[in-house]
């Protein structure tokens, strides 16, 4: 009796465990045994958030044949650079489509309050330096506010747009940046500026309304030679010389015009990327 009971209990527990693990396994299956696209090693996301985000990330990755991943960690565990941490996380955990390892990954160090976007393969072309700047603007404020799922969601939405654009053959870059929907705030701002500047042509019209002015002088009434000089002396008082040393300076400059900056990770794989603090 006791034995049967423990077997039933054990199988029940196993069944429950399987029920929990099954969804994970299902996802893992679709990614053929690879790491999940949404990784929460910092414990900042709820399970519902994880599943919602994972579904979105999978949809995007499948559609554009490019892994889009978000990873939350608490500390870099011995790594001194978040760049190499992220690159390695991507490379050594098997992320990336095809042999070219097409993918993009956002890694957020919740403890160090730092993040890094790493791109690989097609991701390097799809997410240019300029493009990444734009992308960062979309989610950084969420990170600062501690809205982790909001940040991840915003990042994924951005990736969706960028990948769609990149697959069309013209990735977002300098001179070809994403266009927003009608920005009412901007329009009103423009209108405000316009009203301010509208004062300029009207100022001219206003000024022309007034032309009464008293005369400054009596020049029109001078006749004969003016002046007839009775005394005209100029005298030198003195000279003074000052000097200023000529500064020596070196100039340096750099240009900019788009494209993606790349480096090689420890795995030998080439990555692009950028990041910042929040």
């Amino acid at each position: 009796m006791k034995r049967k009971f423990s077997v039933t209990l054990l199988s029940l527990i196993l069944l429950l465990a399987a029920a929990f693990l099954l969804p994970k396994a299902a996802f893992a299956e679709s990614r053929s045994g690879k790491m999940p696209l949404i990784v929460d090693n910092a414990g900042v996301l709820s399970s519902s958030e994880i599943s919602a985000l994972t579904e979105k990330a999978q949809e995007i990755s499948r559609t554009y044949a490019c892994d889009t991943a978000v990873v939350f960690v608490r500390g870099l565990g011995g790594y001194s650079s978040i760049i190499s941490f992220t690159d390695d996380f991507f490379d050594y955990n098997g992320y990336g489509y095809n042999g070219t390892k097409d993918g993009v990954m956002l890694l957020v160090d919740v403890k160090g309050r730092e993040y890094w976007i790493s791109t690989s393969g097609f991701g390097i072309d799809a997410f240019t330096d300029a493009g990444q700047l734009y992308l960062k603007d979309q989610f950084v404020s969420y990170l600062s506010d501690g809205d982790w799922s909001g940040a991840a969601d915003s990042f994924l939405s951005g990736c969706d747009r960028f990948l769609r654009q990149a697959r069309s053959g013209q990735p977002y870059d300098v001179g070809n940046m994403p266009r927003n929907n009608f920005n009412l705030a901007l329009f009103l701002g423009d209108a405000g500026l316009g009203i301010l500047l509208g004062g300029l042509p009207l100022h001219k019209a206003r000024k022309e309304m007034k032309n009464v002015k008293e005369q400054r002088d009596a020049e029109a009434y001078i006749y004969g030679k003016a002046p007839v000089l009775t005394r005209c002396d100029d005298r030198l008082l003195g000279r003074n010389v000052t000097r200023v040393p000529i500064p020596r300076d070196t100039g340096s400059g750099s240009g900019g015009g788009g494209g993606s900056t790349i480096h090689v990770g420890s795995s030998g794989n080439t990555h692009g990327g950028s990041g910042g603090r929040f």
């Binding site: 901007l186 009103l188 405000g192 309304m209 005394r231 002396d233 000279r239 010389v241 000052t242 000529i246």
Partner: protein, 345 residues
Amino acid sequence: MNARRYKCPSCGAGLEFDSTLQEMKCPYCQSVFPVEDFMDDTPSEGTQQAPGTDQFGMYHCETCGAEIIAEESTAATNCPYCSNPVILTGKVSGDLMPDYIIPFKLDKEAAKAALRKHLKGRKLLPKVFTSEHHLDEVKGVYVPFWLFDTTAEASASYAMTRTRTWSDGSYQYTETSSYEALRSGRINFENVPADGARKMADDLMESLETFDFQSAVPFDPVYLSGYFADKYDVSAEESYDRIAKRIDTSAFDALLDTVQGYETVRKTGGDVSLHNTNIKYAMYPVWVLNTTWRGQNYRFAMNGQTGKFVGDLPIDNLAYWKWRLLYGLGFAGVLYGAMWALGIL
């Protein structure tokens, strides 16, 4: 008090001075006569009245017999009953007689045309100013002026500098030379005007300058016929300071012009004294229109000889803000569209 009118030899109506023809014309039978026929033979005619004795005076219109009340300074007007010109010769004779007059060169139509042109297309102007009916109210007025002839003896001292720069590779050198200068000289002025009518704003009259004195003729009351005129009520003494200020400025300007060849020039002192000052009394022609708007009076004036037009126009604030808003929205549309097209958005 004598109120004179000039009778048309043909029909007996009151003759007026016609600025286009520069002759006397009858507004009823259109006959034209030379001005000389009606000029005074004797220089002082009519009883004189000491200035400032009354604020108003009673006069008798010779055409219709009406008793007119006019201001003390009025020298020429229209009879409010029969519209015929009335000239109060006592105000412009004897000691009060002007030395010169510049007769009107531009007629009422010219004045109205100038007004219409000045007011045209002004977005910010209230509508009442441009009605034809109102423009018709423009009046030709002879304004009394004091004209000053004088010789200014001026002297001034100056501080000047000149600089020279060069470098030898390690240093940039600047040599500043300082100078001082003295200038003394004489400048002649003639016919510098100051308006002698208290009710004509000085800045408005000054804005009308310059009147060309070449066209001035010895005064005769006949020129006033058909126009309004006032004798002076601001004395030459009262006007002197204003004249002196303008002359001083010009005298110093003339001296400063002779200090040449320096980078900086600064006047450090100076003095002007006026000599051989001669004052003339003249009447200058001005077309005047008064417009009332929101309880305020706006006066426009046109130089009756040169046609120069001056007057401060009021701004309709409602119209101003309406236009400003329109500009603003227009600008926003253009800017937003441009940003969109350029992909900056």
